[in-house]
């Protein structure tokens, strides 16, 4: 099986020759080709080169255009760039510091020459260079994350109680921006779109159900209507919202290290394909090849056969290559049913 066949087989519940490997890499990938992260995130040629060389070097099953938000700067949010690590929203100058600004915001064109367009072009290049072998992954911000980027995370968190009507209006806006962006990425060749919604782990189950889940659900359904697969990535502690995350219909869901894999499996049911939940820093970066191999095995044991290998969040940039290789070695030496057979 090549990578594409392996990943699609896993997502569709068919037998695989080994576990798929789909870790998130950004700074780690930039470092592989000696590029500064600023160049990686602002020049899609560099991103594509780094992703392809990293996937080839470590035998990953995907190349991914994931990076920081592209939607927010194109909407007009102030972003601070750093020489060699990810850009950040400048919350002190939040675009929607005044909530009335929302009514004046225009939905940006993802092909209008801005930051979103850079990613779309990157996907087209990844597709051109990697399409026969590997999965091409695009990325969009989830409703909570995208709203936080425009409003400011601190303000959004209290808006849930102070002004729920505004929150829904804002979620409507970011949904529209996100889906246009997703469509452009799918049309450029993305097989999978990751929905990154880290801020969703900051709200409890009630706010998640009332506000966030309906929009994440619309995004997942919208991606499926576009013919793409949907990956959900909510970093942080999602233990109280696992059950609802499992009802979104995602093709696979990332589980961060604060969540025991067996709990995710129990709450999300046997059919959900899960990825994780290796601790990126403590297990992957700070571990040894032997401990990484065992830690992935333990995640696999807890997750069962419907499992993709990856860390709970981004592979840290200074992770030893030997540790990443150990993670992949586990995947290649273990097909999906191997653990169950061993345990009988």
């Amino acid at each position: 099986m090549n990578s594409r066949e392996r990943v699609f087989a896993m997502l569709e519940g068919r037998p695989v020759d080994s576990l798929p490997v789909m870790p998130i890499t950004m700074m780690f990938a930039a470092d592989q080709i000696g590029a500064k992260y600023f160049a990686y995130t602002t020049d899609y040629h560099i991103m594509a080169e780094a992703q392809i060389r990293t996937a080839e070097e470590f035998d990953f099953d995907l190349v991914s255009a994931i990076a920081e938000t592209r939607e927010a700067p194109d909407c007009g949010a102030t972003v601070e760039y750093f020489d060699n690590h990810p850009a950040s929203i400048v919350e002190a100058q939040a675009l929607l510091a005044d909530k009335k600004t929302l009514a004046k915001l225009k939905v940006p064109d993802p092909l209008g020459g801005g930051r979103m367009h850079d990613r779309v072009k990157g996907i087209a290049l990844l597709k051109q260079r990697a399409c026969r072998e590997r999965i091409v992954e695009g990325w969009m911000e989830g409703p909570c994350g995208a709203a936080a980027d425009l409003r400011g995370i601190n303000a959004l968190m209290t808006d849930f109680y102070d002004d729920p009507v505004f929150v829904r209006d804002l979620f409507d806006f970011v949904f529209e921006v996100g889906m246009l962006f997703a469509r452009a990425q799918v049309e450029a060749g993305a097989d999978v779109i990751g929905i990154g919604d880290p801020a969703a782990s900051l709200v409890g189950p009630k706010l998640y159900q009332d506000f966030v889940w309906p929009y994440e659900k619309k995004m997942v359904d919208g991606l499926h209507a576009l013919g793409a697969r949907a990956r959900l990535h909510i970093c942080g502690n999602t233990r109280r919202i696992l059950h609802d995350m499992g009802r979104l219909g995602c093709d696979h869901v990332d589980i961060d290290s604060m969540v025991p894999m067996e709990e995710a499996r129990e709450k999300m049911g046997p059919a959900q394909v899960l990825l994780g939940s290796l601790d990126p820093v403590r297990d992957l970066r700070n571990g040894t090849p032997q401990s990484v191999y065992s830690a992935v095995g333990e995640c696999h044991r807890q997750a069962g056969s419907r499992y993709i290998v990856g860390a709970g969040c981004e592979v840290p940039r200074d992770t030893p290559a030997a540790n990443v290789n150990a993670m992949v070695r586990y995947a290649r030496q273990n097909h999906a049913g191997a653990r169950e057979k061993l345990s009988h």
Binding site: S88, E91, I153, T158, V203, R285, D318
Partner: protein, 212 residues
Amino acid sequence: MTRFEELQQAIIDGKAPVAKELTDKMLKEGIRPGEFFPKAIIPAMDEVGRRMRECEFFIPEVLIAARAARASSDILRPLLVGADAMASAGTVVCGTVKGDLHDIGKNIVAMMLESAGFKIIDLGVDVTAEKIVDAVRTNQAGLVALSALLTTTMVNMKSVVEALSAAGLRDKVKIMVGGAPVTDAWAHSIGADGYGKDAPAAVELARQLATA
């Protein structure tokens, strides 16, 4: 329900206008400003911390509770004189280190420390070691609380420890660190005095360090 219990409840429920109104009313009734912290604000925020640890409260609930606590304490602080003023738990200089713009975790720790009776000098995000040294010196702070959310910026915590040492202030302050990639082992390796895994743990740690 006593007045103090009413105020506690208003804070836990995140009702800032109620907390403010109650505080005014209680002051008019002759309750001493210094009584509010030990009898209402600190126990209320301890309960908020407990609920956060137990996953009954999440970030929005903690933020509105802290806002309600601040609505009360903002009225009280200017009125704290003499023995009441001396009862402050200590001064904490806090900030997210250079190169890192993440602030919600730092803000929650700052608000919870404030509600626990500490005076907070919040330097914000992307803070240089020099700025922290200056703030420690100017405010005679006994504690420094540093946040970093990236593996690439947590190294700047070490620069802060070194800068405090170079400035001759290291033995006058305790340094606590936190943030997603930060570990207890990291705290020790850079010569910090402790690691708080979440906001309630940070408050507990600050109390221990302040009395150590």
